[in-house]
C-alpha cells in the first residue's frame, strides 16, 4: 500500500510527549535568579463540580485519529479510529479512546426500545429486552479487542509513522454482561447446531457467523465497559464479546442471534476478512488473533533528547490465552533479554511489559517478541510473509521494529 494513501494528520504533540518531563525541568518555568524553581501556591478556588468528568485540558492531544485506510473509499461513517497507544499507561483503554470501526455510522439506540431476537435451532425462540438480559447472572472479565486489519499497511514496507497508526486498532476493557452460554442453555440448543449468525442494529445490519462452540465457551453479551454502559460507538446498549477473536466478529448493537447448522457466508466473512495467499487461494474463518507485542514507548514519531535511563515499555496479547514471556532486543533481534510483565497478566487481555534500558546516544533498533501459554512465539515479518505472501491484508502479528537514530529520532522500520 502506498504511503500516500495514508491520510493521517500528524500531531506535533506525539514528539513532545515522550520528553515532556525533561523539557519542563530544563526550561518550562521562568524564574528570577533568587526564586525557587517551583510553581507558586494557588490563591484562587478551582473549578466547580461537574456531572461527568473529562480529561485535563492539557491532555487534549491524547485523542483517537481517524484514518482512511483504503485511499478514498472510506467515509467518516466507515473509517477506522485509532487508539493513541503511545500516550496510554497500564492495560485498560479509557472508554473515550477505545478504537472504532463502523460500517454505517453509530446508531443512537434507546435501550428501552432495543430487542435481542434469538431464533433458529433453539427449543425456545425468544425476544429479550435489556432488562431481561440484565436479570441473568452477570459476569465481568478483562479482554482486548483487536481489528484483524490492524497493521495492514505494514506488510510490504514500513508505512505508519506512529504506533497509533501501526497498532492502534487495539484496545482493552473490563466488560460486564451475560455469558452467551447462560442464555443459549436456557433456551435449549437443538442437536446439529454448529454456527450462529450475529447481527447488529446499525444501518448496515452488519453480521457475522460465529462457531457455536466459541459462544458456549467464553462469549459474553456485554452491556457495560469499564464500569459504565457501553459507549454508543462500542455498541450501546448491547454487543457481542468474543475474547481473542478478530474485532469485526464482536458485533455491536447486537439485535439478533440465529442458530443454524452451517456458516451463513455473509459479505464480511467472504469478500472481507479472508486472507488471500500468493497462489490465489484465500483462507476463510481465520478468527483467532495470534500472539503479538509492540513497544509503545519509545515509538515512532518520538525523539529521545537525553542519554541515560529510559525504560522501554509496551503491550503484549494473545487471542489463544495468556502471555507467558516477553523479550526485548535493542540490536534488531540479534540478542534478546526478558522483560518484566506487570501483574495481573490475564487471559486474552493486554499485558504490560517493562524493560530497563539506558540509551547510550548511539543508533539502535528496538524490538519486542512475546510467547503465550500455548508455546506460540510471535514471528518475524519474514516468517509470516514466507507463508502468507504480501496480499493477505489481515492478521499481521509480526515483530515491530523501531529505529533510534543518533539524534534520538524514533522511526518505523523493517529490520
Amino acid at each position: 500500500m502506498d504511503s500516500n494513501k495514508f491520510s493521517v494528520k500528524r500531531r506535533g504533540f506525539i514528539g513532545g510527549a515522550f520528553l515532556a518531563g525533561s523539557a519542563l525541568a530544563s526550561g518550562g518555568l521562568s524564574r528570577a535568579a533568587d526564586a525557587p524553581a517551583l510553581p507558586p501556591r494557588p490563591t484562587e478556588q478551582g473549578a466547580k463540580l461537574r456531572p461527568y468528568g473529562s480529561p485535563s485540558p492539557f491532555e487534549k492531544g491524547v485523542v483517537r485519529v481517524p484514518v482512511k485506510l483504503n485511499a478514498d473509499t472510506d467515509t467518516e461513517l466507515t473509517s477506522w479510529n485509532f487508539t493513541p497507544l503511545q500516550d496510554l499507561q497500564g492495560t485498560i483503554t479509557p472508554n473515550g479512546l477505545f478504537f472504532e470501526r463502523n460500517h454505517g455510522g453509530v446508531p443512537n439506540i434507546d435501550p428501552a426500545e432495543h430487542r435481542l431476537l434469538v431464533h433458529g435451532m433453539v427449543d425456545n425462540e425468544r425476544v429479550f429486552t435489556m432488562d431481561d438480559l440484565k436479570r441473568y447472572p452477570p459476569v465481568t472479565a478483562v479482554h482486548f479487542i483487536e481489528c484483524s486489519g490492524n497493521g495492514l499497511t505494514e506488510w510490504a514496507k514500513p508505512t505508519g509513522k506512529t504506533v497509533q497508526i501501526t497498532h492502534g486498532l487495539l484496545s482493552c476493557a473490563e466488560w460486564t454482561g451475560v455469558k452467551v452460554s447462560s442464555l443459549l442453555n436456557d433456551l435449549g440448543v437443538k442437536p446439529g447446531a454448529a454456527w450462529v449468525l450475529a447481527e447488529g442494529a446499525d444501518a448496515a445490519l452488519m453480521d457475522r457467523s460465529i462457531p457455536l462452540q466459541k459462544l458456549m465457551d467464553d462469549a459474553i453479551l456485554a452491556y457495560a465497559q469499564n464500569g459504565e454502559a457501553l459507549r454508543p460507538e462500542q455498541g450501546y446498549p448491547l454487543r457481542l464479546l468474543l475474547p481473542g477473536f478478530e474485532g469485526n466478529m464482536n458485533v455491536k448493537w447486537l439485535r439478533r442471534l440465529k442458530v443454524g447448522r452451517e456458516p451463513f457466508y455473509t459479505r464480511e466473512e467472504t469478500s472481507k476478512y479472508t486472507d488471500l495467499l500468493a497462489n490465489g487461494d484465500a483462507r476463510m474463518f481465520t478468527f483467532v488473533m495470534e500472539a503479538k507485542s509492540v513497544i509503545t514507548q519509545p515509538s515512532g514519531g518520538m525523539q529521545i533528547l537525553q542519554k541515560g535511563e529510559r525504560p522501554i515499555t509496551g503491550l503484549a496479547w494473545s487471542g489463544r490465552g495468556t502471555i507467558r514471556r516477553v523479550e526485548v532486543s535493542t540490536d534488531a533481534g540479534k540478542t534478546w533479554s526478558p522483560a518484566r510483565l506487570v501483574e495481573p497478566v490475564q487471559t486474552k487481555a493486554l499485558a504490560r511489559f517493562v524493560f530497563p534500558w539506558k540509551w547510550n546516544g548511539e543508533e539502535a533498533v528496538l524490538q519486542s517478541r512475546c510467547y503465550d501459554d500455548t508455546g506460540y512465539v510471535q514471528p518475524t515479518l519474514a516468517e509470516l510473509v514466507k507463508v502468507r505472501g504480501l496480499n493477505s491484508v489481515y492478521h499481521l502479528n509480526a515483530i515491530q521494529s523501531w529505529h533510534i537514530a543518533a539524534d534520538g529520532t524514533v522511526t518505523n522500520v523493517h529490520a
Binding site: 425476544v127 439478533r256 455473509t266 476463510m284 481465520t286 516468517e383
Partner: protein
C-alpha cells in the same frame, strides 16, 4: 506432585458436586426470561440469505432492469461500469488474485452470488439502506453478475436462478484455519 494433583481433583469434584447443578448449569427454561418470539417477529428480521438460497424472497429482476437500478442507485459511488470510484470496484479482476496486484471484486473474488443479494439488500445503497424492493435487488444483482461475465444479458434472477449461479472463485477458499503457521 501426585498428591497435589489428587488434591486438586478432589477439590474440583467437590466443587462440581456442591455448586454446578444449582447455580451454574442452567437447565432449559430455568430463568424463564424474555418473551416467546412470534412468527411475525421472526419473519420481520429473519432475512439472511444462505448460499443454498434459503430465505430468498419471491420476486425477480432482469439484467436490463438492473442496469436502470444501478445507474440510478449505485453508479455515483461505484462507477458507471462498476469500475469503482469513489467506492469499491465491483467489476473485473478475474485472473489477478495470484499476482502482485490482486483486484478483488464481485466477479473475481466473491464465492457466492447469494451473498451479493444479501449484502445489497442489507446495506446498500450506503446512504439509504433497506430502501430497494426485492425485485430491484434481484435486478441489480443480475446486472452485477452480467457485467462480470457470469450470466448472459437476458438473464433473470429469482430465488431459483440466483442460487444456481456458480461464482468463478467459489472453490478457492480454504475453510479451515491452518494456523499457527509460523514459526
Amino acid at each position: 506432585m501426585f498428591m497435589r494433583n489428587l488434591l486438586k481433583a478432589v477439590v474440583a469434584l467437590s466443587l462440581c458436586a456442591s455448586f454446578v447443578p444449582g447455580a451454574l448449569a442452567a437447565k432449559t427454561g430455568e430463568y424463564g426470561l424474555g418473551q416467546p418470539a412470534t412468527q411475525a417477529e421472526i419473519n420481520a428480521w429473519n432475512d439472511d440469505v444462505s448460499p443454498a438460497g434459503d430465505n430468498l424472497p419471491a420476486g425477480s429482476g432482469s439484467v436490463a432492469q438492473g442496469q436502470r437500478v444501478y445507474a440510478e442507485k449505485c453508479a455515483a459511488c461505484h462507477g458507471a461500469q462498476g469500475q469503482g470510484g469513489p467506492m469499491d470496484k465491483l467489476v473485473g479482476g478475474q485472473g489477478t488474485l495470484d499476482t502482485k496486484a490482486p483486484v478483488k471484486t464481485v466477479g473475481s473474488y466473491w464465492p457466492y452470488a447469494t451473498t451479493v443479494f444479501d449484502y445489497v439488500r442489507r446495506a446498500m445503497p450506503f446512504n439509504a439502506p433497506g430502501t430497494l424492493s426485492d425485485d430491484q435487488v434481484y435486478a441489480v444483482t443480475a446486472y452485477l453478475l452480467y457485467m462480470n461475465g457470469i450470466v448472459q444479458s437476458n438473464a433473470v434472477m429469482n430465488a431459483k436462478t440466483l442460487a444456481a449461479v456458480k461464482m468463478p472463485n467459489r472453490d478457492n477458499f480454504l475453510k479451515k484455519d491452518p494456523r499457527p503457521d509460523a514459526p
